[in-house]
């Protein structure tokens, strides 16, 4: 008799987390998925609370929603009430909603306020093997911990508040390996900009990205967060890294992390969620770290990027499908096809955001800017991602290093990443930015222009007054 071997195919972390949180299949083929951790902020939640009230619904799991205020907060003067009455109305609304429904709120006086995607991890709220949703596309950041984290719309914020679930279709999983070691002067930001450039801004549509390989194994949690954060810029609604010793070391002892005897149980459980070695992915893409150079965008979406040593593309030699997009991008950016990006004068430098506003970002830049100064015609602002990041920077004297170098050191918030607060570009100013989107008008002026790059490259541009290869300027 022939023994037929039983094929036991491994599962991805995505599948395991999904299965552990699937409540039921819905009639239309979607899944009702339990969202264990819900993060909210002032911009996308007020209408959700209004709908809850209008429909007479309850919030059955208030202890699983966490709030903070980030998008609209001024970063220079924190006097209350805010000068902008609309901003004041929004923060008041959030405060009232959290009070009414018993939701934990990291408000400004708490010292724990910050960008929601910086606060969650640093408080230990973001944990492996969990599902996380937030009315913000950069929720993919939390995948760095081996969580499945989605950006959702306001109606879904309502759904999570009222039911702790959302209706969603299962994603495919694309494994993205980055093997080898990054070259000096090349950072996590360059890795994700390179991935988006190669796979396209819609290449991840329908997928969750699983990042792995030697580069990710060696990355710190903050570096993993930078990459997962921008998954959505590649079209992937979620991106994640399997949890490992680095993840657990980061989480140990944080305010909301499991403590005492719960800790070992939690780690044992988290470990089981990592993708099995014999997993078959829907797709696999492999990059080699040594092919990646410091990368900067030049156009109006994050996929329009070049290495710092490269020249800009030329619409004349592009295929017909891409030509219109390139022409539109050149038209907005006022750059010349075929020219090097290096040497392009900038007027503003922005260091911060949920992509690159964490402690290590400021520490790394501080190493290079000591004894140097921002160019006279450049306005440079440094905005910590959270009050906690700001506090540690002060303790370490990093804020002084920035101020001495001519940066304005600010209070925590989203700031000029999307310019919903007073930090905005003026006219067609060109900004070297450590944020995540270079869309037309993104930084507050319809004609404003953005070049995305790593924090160290932003600092180099600020000092040189133009887009610069940081490796040359800093002899790194």
């Amino acid at each position: 008799m022939l023994l037929i071997p039983v094929l036991r195919m491994g599962k991805t972390l995505f599948q395991k987390v999904w299965d552990a949180h699937a409540v039921r299949d819905l009639a239309n083929g979607q899944t009702q998925l339990l969202i264990g951790t819900h993060l909210i902020h002032e911009v996308t939640s007020p209408q959700a609370f209004a709908m809850i009230r209008e429909l007479g619904l309850k919030v059955p799991y208030p202890h699983r929603t966490f709030a903070t205020v980030d998008h609209i907060v001024p970063t220079d003067r924190r006097t209350v009430p805010f000068e902008d009455p609309l901003a004041e109305a929004m923060i008041k609304e959030l405060r009232a909603n959290c009070d009414q429904f018993g939701i934990r709120y990291f408000d400004i006086p708490s010292g724990k306020q910050g960008i929601v995607h910086v606060v969650g991890p640093e408080q230990g709220i973001t944990q492996p093997g969990t599902t996380i949703a937030c009315g913000d596309s950069h929720t993919s950041t939390h995948g760095a911990f081996g969580a499945i984290a989605f950006g959702i719309g306001t109606s879904q914020v309502r759904d999570v508040l009222a039911t702790q679930t959302i209706a969603i279709g299962r994603l495919k999983v694309r494994r993205i390996n980055v093997n080898g070691r990054l070259r000096p002067g090349t950072y996590a930001k360059d890795v994700i900009l390179h991935i988006i450039r190669k796979l396209g801004v819609n290449g991840g549509n329908g997928y969750a990205y699983e990042y792995g390989g030697e580069v990710f194994d060696n990355f710190t949690m903050e570096e993993r967060m930078t990459v997962c954060n921008m998954s959505i810029e590649g079209g992937a609604r979620a991106g994640y890294v399997n949890p490992d010793a680095t993840t657990y070391a980061y989480l140990k002892g944080r305010p909301y992390s499991p403590a005492a005897e719960e800790w070992n149980q939690a780690v044992a459980r988290w470990t089981t969620f990592a993708s099995d070695p014999d997993t078959e992915y829907d797709d696999v893409v492999t990059f080699h770290a040594d092919e990646i150079e410091p990368t900067v965008t030049w156009g109006i979406n994050p996929g329009q990027a070049v290495f710092i040593s490269e020249s800009l593309p030329d619409p004349k030699t592009a295929n017909t499908e891409e030509r219109d997009s390139l022409v539109e991008a050149f038209d907005h950016m006022k750059l010349v096809p075929g020219q090097p990006i290096k040497g392009t004068p900038i007027q503003v430098a922005f260091l911060g955001s949920c992509t690159n506003g964490r402690l290590s970002d400021f520490q790394e830049v501080a190493k290079f800017i000591q004894g140097r100064h921002v160019a006279p015609n450049v306005k440079a602002i440094a905005v910590p991602g959270s009050q906690a990041v700001g506090a540690v920077c002060k303790e370490l004297g990093i804020d002084r290093i920035f101020s001495d170098a001519g940066f304005e050191w600010r209070e925590a918030g989203c700031s000029m990443c999307l310019a919903m607060n007073p930090d905005k570009l003026v006219g067609d100013q060109l900004c070297a930015s450590s944020s995540n989107r270079n869309f037309k008008g993104r930084q507050g002026s319809p004609t404003g222009r953005t070049i995305l790059m790593s924090p160290v490259m932003v600092a180099a541009a600020a000092i040189a007054g133009q887009v610069t290869d940081a490796r040359e300027l800093f002899n790194a």
Binding site: M90, G153, I168, P258, E328
Partner: protein, 206 residues
């Protein structure tokens, strides 16, 4: 919550040119400083429609010939970027009731369906034809048919597909999931009980 069943949308169209049109362009962030979605319609595509002094620019949405259009025709990866539901809300409140594009960004697609806005995809070649016809004749009548999965334009019929779960949700009047989600609270509780991190006692006191 009974919702209308949506099987066809008929009306005139307007073309939003270009691929990768992001939600910042659909509704600039400064117009999200609000606590309701009311009034968002007037700021739809604001920076593309108006100059810095608020004067209208040459844009199809400013063209009186396109007044009253209910079907938006777009390109590839429409609605990429920010998850702001303000984008489909602005589109709906401006008066659009369906979008035809080559493809949609994931989050935007879900948000639009939840508002009952069918998002159908057509091939690049067919979209070029539709765009051409609508630009040439702004009064041309279009019909988006979710049952047949087509877009009809004069005597021409183009294939237009909608992802299965969304099509089903629209056709059966279950496009806003809240009703279904509320139905299974006992199952949710059971699921939550299996997840240690859902236990209230694991969250420290404020």
């Amino acid at each position: 919550m009974p919702l209308p069943k949506i099987s066809t949308v008929a009306g005139t169209g307007v073309v939003i040119a270009g691929d990768d049109v992001d939600t910042d362009r659909i509704i600039p962030a400064r117009y999200m400083k609000c606590v309701t979605f009311d009034g968002l319609g007037e700021f739809l595509f604001y920076d593309v429609r108006f100059d810095e002094n608020g004067r209208p620019k040459a844009h199809p949405l400013n063209d009186p010939q396109h007044h009253g259009a209910t079907i938006l025709i777009a390109g590839r990866n429409f609605g990429c970027g920010s998850s702001r539901e303000h984008a489909p809300q602005a589109i709906y409140r401006y008066g659009f009731r369906a979008i035809v594009a080559e493809s949609f960004a994931e989050i935007f697609f879900g948000n639009a369906i939840t508002l009952g806005i069918p998002c159908v995809t057509a091939s690049r070649t067919d979209l070029a034809k539709i765009r051409h016809a609508v630009t040439a004749n702004p009064k041309a009548k279009l019909t988006v048919d979710l049952v047949q999965q087509t877009v009809e334009l004069a005597s021409e019929v183009f294939t237009a597909s909608v992802r299965g779960s969304a099509r089903d949700a629209l056709l059966t009047g279950r496009w806003d999931a809240i009703g279904d989600l509320l139905d299974a609270q006992d199952l949710v509780q059971k699921r939550a009980a299996d997840l240690p991190y859902m236990r209230p006692n694991l969250v420290p006191a404020p």
